[in-house]
Symmetry: C2
Subunit: 422 residues, 2 copies
């Protein structure tokens, strides 16, 4: 599958090299939102490390957070803010270079101070500001630098634009990640536009990175949260880089309502579908930019009794280092794929498995009825060297399908991670 | 901890470079068992690829097998043999170079033929022979070569000895793995001696590789199986190289009874402890020889409410690629260790965590009460570069402890696995 899996609603996926789209610098958030970035010294070398997304008017906000037992201070703060007053959010302040995780009560104070400094600059209340942090765990934020940086963000010396904000939250990412979708609901055109970061500690079963999404749709907090949970479940929760789960993973969605309300069950479904498109584009960009990765890997498991079991099998294949290294080497080692599927706990019948490599229009069938076919090894190897590399396994149990995205595993992953803090 | 964790019962751990012990070539199985090896062309270059362990008299046997849904033909055969007649086993025939997995009904016929050829050579019944295979998945065995090879094994041209047998079952292993323990029960000295292989597709929650253990103790099938299940649960099921689970994992234990019966509950407990020692030595050797590994990593989680939760947390730490790459680089990135622990599902209180790096006698404390201490980064880095590298996390919830062994993750792991079959 190409990026057309994201569906016709995606009109721009700048930053995703496999998709047509406008240049990154032209990227804008949804109407009514503005973004800016600054360098305040949390990262070395004068790189952008602070991003602001602000709305002209109070927004309804929703969030999806890591399920890690060890949660960073900004995660705790954002949960609290969204519980108390999700309907009047004005801004998101985000820093890279320091995760503000494992920093105790002092770290929570720092996160609150970030919100307060931002609120002062924007002329709103601290309870209207959400906070994101990403970077090294266990170090306190340098609040003097953040103080100056947040002042910079609301000054003419800030670098304006969503592209700069997307770059400012990058850590080991090699590319900024932005996406947009558009949908017409009740005669009104709705925009959904956002950005994300994430290249390591990426694993399913939670919001797996940082993302800020904006829309001019009008929704109350409860349906907005439901839409985000559904969209994240089919996008960010379907990617894996290394099976690790961050302490900071957060997806935030801000809805201004400027384009008018989304009404009725059909309207909410259409909005959720468009939001899923936008999230899926970002999720695929994250998987493709996995640490040390050279290509996106798309694992499609069909023939499941339900989506959950198809997801479970796809997840095991996508998380297998042996499968990921084989794909890196273009080695059609189908036995590893079947062995990984077999660890899922799903009671499939090995003798009913069908496996093919490559996109549907040029798939190389390698296993039928659980046994290897005679296949062209050169063509199978070429299929695994494509971007995306597609692995399709049919369980022969039903009609449910699930797709999980990951990346190949290269020696560069080790090089990136062996010396991150020191 | 050094290899002395295996306890005073281990009198020889040849092949384990961290332990004192006799040279590999001097290694013997338990009295009454003999071993031989041959090269029959399943591996290229004339390497040993066929091993036989035979007993002078019928043995009681026990087995622990992979829980992968995709199981190799010899696994299916051995389960059947042990169900029907576990009390009169005469031999184990094992090949490397071909896993005989995903080979359908024909593969099961091949496994039966291996048993029949061996039985013919030894003058026993095929139902008295257990079969092991390891190597590439999805290829049929070359039965003509095996026929000649099995004939060789019972001829003067075979290479005699358990050391040769241990080498013959190696795949990507860089070292043969053998271990021995001795225990006195009811005034009788009992020997437990065996060998194992395994370097990739190593993951907890099952017998994680191939191992053949022999003892001259006398036990009935049921207590022998119980002893093996307990020992494997605390040794082979506590190691992880890459989180993958093989289709072929099998541990076999043959008990000849030549030294006399093990009687009573206390006798069984002593036997199980000695068996656990022997299995733990083999398990540690497998983890240390993980594909691309440069050292053994020992993750000790204490302060659990029960052993299961301590094991779960230790498992998550040991399976984290980010932790394993950091250890490879000597990077005391304790945040990754806490983050990995947080994915376990165990409801610990982050503010009660204590973490230290290095062996107990020279541990560097890095986290106390969930917060980083000021520590000597050079000493912490040196602790992670030791072999074994010890990571000790206290959950502060209770008194239960569990240890999991793994290895560091190097770029060499990728090099080994990117081009295995092609």
């Amino acid at each position: 599958m190409s990026d057309s899996t994201a569906g016709p609603r995606v009109i721009s996926s700048a930053g995703d090299p496999a998709a047509p789209g406008a240049p990154l610098e032209d990227f804008r958030l949804a109407p009514g939102f503005r973004a800016a970035a600054a360098a305040c010294g949390l990262k070395s070398g004068g790189a952008l490390d602070l991003a602001l997304v602000a709305s002209d008017r109070p927004c309804v906000a929703a969030g999806v957070f890591t399920t890690n037992r060890v949660q960073a201070a900004p995660v705790a703060l954002d949960r609290e803010v969204l519980e108390r007053g999700p309907a009047a959010i004005r801004a998101v302040i985000a820093n890279s270079g320091c995760a503000n995780a494992c920093t105790g009560p002092g770290g929570l104070d720092d996160a609150r101070a970030m919100a307060a400094l931002t609120a002062r600059g924007l002329g709103c209340s601290p309870e209207q500001v959400l906070v994101l942090s990403t970077g090294v765990i266990g170090r306190r934020l340098d609040m003097a630098r953040l103080d100056r940086g947040i002042a910079l963000l609301t000054s003419p010396r800030a670098e304006p634009g969503a592209a700069a904000a997307a770059r400012a939250i990058m850590t080991t990412d090699t590319r900024a990640k932005v996406a947009a979708s558009r949908v017409t609901i009740g005669g009104r055109e709705i925009a959904i536009r956002g950005f994300a970061k994430g290249a390591g500690m990426i694993h399913p079963r939670m919001a797996t990175m940082l993302a800020v999404l904006t829309t001019d749709a009008g929704l109350a907090a409860t349906p907005l949260q439901a839409a985000l949970a559904t969209a994240a479940g089919r996008s960010f929760n379907r990617i894996s880089v290394d099976g690790d789960m961050s302490t900071n993973d957060t997806v935030l969605l801000l809805a201004s309502g400027a384009a008018g309300p989304v009404e009725g069950r059909a309207g909410l479904e259409d909005f959720t579908a468009a939001l899923t498109d936008c999230c899926t584009s970002l999720a695929r960009q994250i998987a493709r930019d996995g640490e040390g990765a050279t290509r996106l890997v798309e694992v499609v498991v069909s023939g499941g009794r339900d989506e959950a079991e198809a997801h479970e099998v796809a997840d095991r294949i996508a998380c297998s280092p042996l499968v990921k290294t084989a794909i890196h080497g273009g080695d059609p080692n189908w036995g590893r794929i079947l062995a990984a599927a077999g660890t899922s706990g799903v009671a499939f019948e090995p003798a009913r498995l069908r496996l093919s490599l490559g996109p549907p229009e040029a798939a190389v069938k390698v296993v039928e009825g659980g046994l290897p076919l005679i296949f062209d090894e050169g063509a199978a190897s070429a299929a695994l060297r494509r971007d995306p590399a597609v692995v399709s396994l049919d369980l022969g149990r039903g009609t449910a399908t699930a797709t999980v995205w990951t990346c190949d595993l290269s020696a560069e992953y080790v090089a990136v991670n062996a010396h991150y803090t020191t």
